[in-house]
Symmetry: C2
Subunit: 509 residues, 2 copies
Amino acid sequence: MSTTPFPTDSTPDELDTIAALAAAAAPIWAGTEPTVRAAALVAAADALLAARDELVAIAQAETGLTEARLTGEVGRTAVQLKLFAEVVVDGSYLDVRIDDADPGFVLGARPDLRRYRIPVGPVLNFAASNFPFAFSVAGGDTAAALAAGCPVIVKAHPGHPLLSVRTAEVVAGALVGAGAPAGILQLISGQDAGVQMLQDARIAAGSFTGSIRAGRILADIAAARPTPIPFFGELGSVNPVFVTQAALDENGETIAGGYLTSVTGSAGQLCTKPGFLFAPTGNTLAAQLVATGADPAEHRLLNPGITAGYQARRDAILATTGVRPILEGSVRIDEDGNGWATPTIVAVSTTDLLAGRDTLLDEAFGPLSVLVEYDDAAALAGQAAQLFEGNLTGTVHAGTGEDSPALRGIIDWIAQNAGRVLLGGWPTGVAVTPAQQHGGPYPATSNDSGTSVGSAAIGRFLRPVAYQSVPQELLPAALRDTNPWNVPQQRNTAGASQAWGSLQPGALG
Amino acid sequence: MSTTPFPTDSTPDELDTIAALAAAAAPIWAGTEPTVRAAALVAAADALLAARDELVAIAQAETGLTEARLTGEVGRTAVQLKLFAEVVVDGSYLDVRIDDADPGFVLGARPDLRRYRIPVGPVLNFAASNFPFAFSVAGGDTAAALAAGCPVIVKAHPGHPLLSVRTAEVVAGALVGAGAPAGILQLISGQDAGVQMLQDARIAAGSFTGSIRAGRILADIAAARPTPIPFFGELGSVNPVFVTQAALDENGETIAGGYLTSVTGSAGQLCTKPGFLFAPTGNTLAAQLVATGADPAEHRLLNPGITAGYQARRDAILATTGVRPILEGSVRIDEDGNGWATPTIVAVSTTDLLAGRDTLLDEAFGPLSVLVEYDDAAALAGQAAQLFEGNLTGTVHAGTGEDSPALRGIIDWIAQNAGRVLLGGWPTGVAVTPAQQHGGPYPATSNDSGTSVGSAAIGRFLRPVAYQSVPQELLPAALRDTNPWNVPQQRNTAGASQAWGSLQPGALG
């Protein structure tokens, strides 16, 4: 075990030193060759894996999450770093565009113009409670920012303070050992410290995973700075699931089991937990859920704040008119102040859900979900539009080959109001891949132009810059004709604008 | 001439109707096939060109800009629409990524995931005073949003109200005639109306070209909404130019002439006007500027507000300690209330510029620029960092083949603090091309992740969405294996994660 001291809140002097170190590291890391940057990310991944047993033990004690879950999460965190190492070397993310000079351009001579994306500068990352590795010190936001070429300051989550300190030591040590500058990854502690750092002029962007309330406060602070900065907050989501009669006829039992597993995994403390499942009135899911024999084992909740919030939400939901418990479940606090819960599934009609919306629609962070009984599949998309704001995901379970205007309507509603549309399967378990989208319309995220999972996440920490008529020897490597980094260069040759004619009507026909 | 009525401020009822029409148009336009959307943009371009003489006449009367300038601007505006028509058909902007299902993915089976970018919804575009065509009703922001698949509401600039109404008639008519839905392009008038519309829940994004003061107010409103939305404001920029001794030795006279042309074009009322030119102390530019014989013709300023602002800025600058007029120039108001100006160029030392920074550094919107005399080229980048905030552009004039740490230092400072770096040439005259970047760190823009000129501008009005395990027949066209729209699809095949080993240290070596 580590002898890591318990971190105290960062002082203003400490914050100033940390910001200065990050600012000094920024140009060095931005100018580090892709192969070196990638190797440092791989070294960080390997250091995490090498320290896995020690880190998992600390995390278990601090979070109550299971060893299996935490061990898997270290693997996921390492994979994220390795995926981004590949992204860095590939170079597509730079979006290199080269316009050859074009003396015959239709609006007059066009100069040689070359554009790519550069790192924004130091990034402040507010770590999450529920993923002590994958959305914390060395998590997805950190990996994406480091890959983009930005130093990172992590505001540790108070739910796993010792783990945060030790992870930062392991990962920063590996990065610096592989050639990254001092200041590449630093830790701060304390709520006020986080706010103060977010307001520091040296911070160029923020990222966050947590509640709507906290995330909105921070997003507003970022927007109100003398120089506003982008703030990528992943906030709240209830992830509705819509099940058709055909799906139930084919797979009722499998759906019931998958639903319960998705709701209860990690004690329901996942941003993609399905909070609502819509199924036809008279469905057999309730009976099937009971028949599965809900997991009798209690699971620990992450911290007293989450426990208190979950208790209050659960009580309010159970007390709402029309709400019927299917699995009543439980939540209690032990002598050490830790919360423990078994899953709660309740049923309600769409009518009662609409009537009780003020109570029922907020996210319940924990192992609780609402089974909504609907009468008219064709009305579902319209009802969903009345009920829900933006979400990370929306899921449809349909029969094999099923197709109808109602089905297409609900899929389209999801696409318009969420970041990810699933046909079958469950929204928990977010794959770390190039095509992943973890982010959706507010309040799912504070800025839905990016993703916080998958390789596209790097784009949040870049901004474009163009070079006009700059001689080859003074150009950045990625923009040179010799292309020493071997990155994709989209080249726009001279003469294309001739197709537009002489700006007379009818051109480009 | 048109019989267009002078627009009155939009009423709350009118705004509600307009927002509803835009919201109704959104899904229709988003679902319009690329070839149809592109053809509608070309039809709009052709309609503008066909109405050019009529529109230019209205614009001349309302803005005082020259016929040649306005005629060219209509061409530029048409080219923007045609460029975006090509972008729409090409489809790269969709950023389609397809992950094949991968049962052997290192973190466990990966589903089939397909991600692309969809239009955000209705866009509110605040038109500019200084480009009555290219940054107004049918300007770059409108073209980019329409191309992205978003209906557009334009808040007309009060400096050219009749032109705004007539342009909207011409362009909306052409779009609808080519198959676009009613509500595709609508106009509103009045400052309060603009604010009210920006706060309407049906508006998904804002764009703006104008002053820092107004832009920041609107950006803050957009960020403070119950549901915050992205706001792309192009605000203020002073576009510093740095001239080396070698450049002066080679090209002094050409540089003097080019500088004066760039400062005085469109009466200096351009966001890329070079507001500061740094040249070595003892340079001959002052004499050469006088020798060029500054244009004796007065140019009309756009409107009384700009005239008043310019007069105040010019008076303050001329009264600052150490400021010496080279071309004193003039500004006056005629009997109709129109402002008229001839160019003002003043000289100041870097020491006096630093001392007078509170007065001298703000943008002077009009035909005025400051020639700064420096003693130490090696100190320039550091001085620039002390003086300037974010800019749209920064320019260096160097000798042929010149290279030095000082030169590289200033180029790098520009890249870190502006959106476009020029070696030689002048920042005015922004090419409309794929590699253009018109946007830079605050306060040049309120959001420097995008550009407001060039084809990359479309990215501001899109957000990503992913489809997981969705059958081919229920997928959007761009994501299908058959690829009916023939768009670029980045495909990530199964098996790649094997290179990362079994998550043991050393993988991806």
